[in-house]
């Protein structure tokens, strides 16, 4: 049994390649990834499409076996079923059994990760309520919208209370209320001491939930460090500033002070918090 001091992820020279096409040509997707994630740490993954984020998460989750390098997850072999059952994985798309009702599907996924029958039912009901799908627990997953499937995906990744959480584009397709659910569930997992790896294109998510950031480019780590450090160095970098409680005059004055400091306001419009407030009012 690995001690709690062992890192959640220790990878050395991790490689993943696929062969495809008529000539069975090899294409390298991961080209030597070195990664150390301490227990309880939260890592963000960014990179352009095709940079290998999803593949890296699938390898870490044990869904795929790497073609090269060394990998230890939670102090053990990432491919062993014992370790896999301690990892929660939210895949990029949501390929869960469409013919099952939400509660049935969540109970199935819990049982596949060795959660006891009675516990599985209770936890499935609790998680469906937490992600706002309680009313839809008897609806088949095939009838779910994309956002509902993402919420379900979050619930299934957490149903066995994993020690390592791997989330691929967790907020894609979520509405404002979904963002709040996501924040809350991640906070609960963090409080439990779970380690996390989140791949996302939404920098605000990564900045809010991660204490380390890795930029992947063509299967290699192009930059790594604290989110602020990694992003600060970029020439012409822009930031999002959400402001509340100012009227039109106040906003104009703020814009003028930005201009005085040599900056410029790129866009101005209602923030996601406005939508959240609207949904909260509607649900009341």
């Amino acid at each position: 049994m690995a001690s709690e001091d062992t890192p959640a992820i220790a990878a050395r020279g991790l490689r993943q390649a696929y062969r495809s096409g008529f000539l069975w040509k090899q294409r390298e997707v991961l080209r030597g990834i070195d990664l150390d994630l301490p227990r309880g740490a939260r890592l963000g993954l960014v990179g352009p499409n095709g940079s290998g984020k999803s593949t890296l998460l699938r390898v870490l989750a044990g869904v795929e076996r790497p073609t090269g390098g060394e990998l230890a997850v939670l102090g053990g072999d990432h491919a062993s079923s014992r370790i896999r059952a301690r990892v929660g994985f939210l895949p990029e798309d949501t390929p869960f059994p469409r013919e099952l009702r939400a509660l049935e599907a969540l109970e199935l996924l819990a049982s596949l990760r060795c959660v006891e029958r009675a516990t599985a039912r209770a936890r499935a009901q609790e998680l469906l309520a937490a992600v706002g799908l309680e009313a839809a627990r008897r609806t088949k997953l095939g009838r779910f919208s994309r956002g509902m499937l993402r919420r379900f995906g979050l619930a299934q990744a957490l149903v066995h209370e994993p020690d390592l959480l791997l989330l691929d584009e967790p907020t894609a397709g979520l509405d404002a209320q979904g963002f709040a659910v996501f924040d809350e569930l991640l906070e609960r997992a963090r409080a439990r001491g779970a380690s996390m790896v989140i791949a996302s294109h939404v920098l605000a998510d990564l900045q809010a939930h991660c204490d380390q950031l890795i930029v992947l480019h063509e299967g290699r780590i192009a930059a790594a460090g604290k989110p602020g450090e990694v992003l600060r160095g970029e020439a012409g970098a822009s930031i999002v500033l959400e402001v509340a409680g100012l009227d039109e005059r106040g906003l104009n004055s703020l814009e003028a002070s930005v201009a005085q400091q040599g900056g410029r306001v790129l866009s101005r419009g209602p923030s996601t918090e406005t939508l959240r407030a609207l949904y909260r009012r509607l649900s009341r």
Binding site: V63, S81, F89, P95, L100, L112
Partner: protein, 354 residues
């Protein structure tokens, strides 16, 4: 083994579209006249044969729609794993072999559910006529060739448990001085029982039937021709043993089991092969042994579909089928084990390039 996963797989093998197709086939099988009508000479058929033809007809209809669907669905399982199921199956606390085995169990369960209504419908179509005899075993004996009146061949055959009727099927080998027919006599001796003798007229392919009347140990049979006639030989050098007045459910259950085993082995082959080839290739490779069993007479009993074909042939003759052979069960178990191992050996089982 995860029961919920097995139930999900079974559900996937029986989607509403497939259920509707099976229901239509069942309705069709209930109305097709399987036995010849009175104008076609039905009055010459004994009721057991008419009932047997109806039974076999309903089951053949079932097999014609169910087996191709199950084979195709099993071959498509691995494709489904690679199209997304692998993301949650791959993170389960189940080995790859365990996942494959759960799929085989689900397929077997769904196959049983699909076959059961046809098995009941077959009995319903057969009406009140239950088979008079149920096949138990075949005994290989030395060749029996009776060319002249003076030829007499003695054979000794062990009696299987429960067997009380023996059939020896003779065929005309060459026409003799009495035309293309011959009268045969069989003298029967068994310790503890009175000696007896039976005669039969062989015109093309006719069976000599012996009813045992007690006794213990092996049976001694003496075959000889009576009077002038054609040369006759014992077909395939084997004797068939039957149980008389069998319980009706035994024949029906035996047919069901043969169909289930044939379907099961086809599904297992398709699933195992699909891990290494395309779904289409796996389907063809898994289904072709079954077609071979229907086309060839010389395949071993363990070959997928051979036992089923034999059981259906007995059924069409108005006889009850026997339990599937131990060799058939063993072969199915071996194929299932291999089918579970083949996906486990595939490195890129859940592979989905992203």
């Amino acid at each position: 083994m995860n029961r919920r996963l097995i139930a999900l797989v079974a559900r996937r093998f029986l989607p509403p579209g497939a259920l509707a197709l099976f229901a239509a086939a069942l309705a069709l099988a209930m109305f097709i006249p399987w036995a010849p009508s009175a104008e076609q000479g039905a009055d010459q058929l004994v009721p057991e044969v008419s009932a047997g033809l109806a039974r076999a007809g309903v089951l053949l209809t079932a097999l014609a729609v169910i087996l191709p669907w199950f084979c195709a669905r099993a071959a498509w399982c691995v494709g489904q794993w690679r199209q997304g199921d692998g993301d949650w199956l791959g993170t389960a606390r189940l080995s790859r072999g365990g996942v494959a085995l759960a799929h085989l169990c689900g397929a077997g369960l769904a196959l049983a559910v699909a076959l059961l209504p046809f098995a009941f419908a077959a009995e319903l179509r057969a009406g009140d006529a239950a088979p008079r005899l149920r096949w138990l075993a075949d005994s290989a004996v030395r060749p029996v060739v009776l060319l002249t009146e003076s030829d007499r061949v003695q054979v000794v055959a062990p009696v299987p448990r429960g067997g009380d009727v023996l059939r020896a099927r003779f065929v005309i080998a060459a026409p003799g001085n009495g035309g293309p027919q011959a009268r045969l006599r069989c003298d029967i001796a068994r310790s503890g029982a009175r000696n007896a003798s039976v005669e039969v007229l062989v015109t093309s392919n006719d069976a000599l039937e012996v009813q045992l009347a007690g006794g213990v140990g092996p049976l001694e049979l003496g075959f000889q021709r009576v009077g002038p006639g054609a040369a006759v030989v014992l077909e395939s050098s084997r004797l068939q043993w039957f149980e008389s007045k069998p319980a009706r459910w035994k024949g029906g259950l035996a047919l069901f089991l043969e169909a289930w085993l044939a379907g099961g082995v086809v599904c297992a082959l398709a699933l195992g092969l699909a891990a290494w080839t395309s779904a289409g290739t796996a389907f063809l490779a898994a289904f072709s042994p079954l077609c071979c069993a229907w086309l060839s007479d010389s395949l071993p009993i363990a070959w997928p579909g051979v036992g089923l074909r034999g059981a259906l042939a007995l059924c069409s003759d108005g006889l009850g089928a026997g339990w599937p052979a131990l060799l058939t069960w063993t072969f199915v178990a071996i194929v299932c084990a291999l089918a579970a191992a083949l996906p486990a050996l595939q490195r890129d089982l859940w592979r989905r390039e992203v």
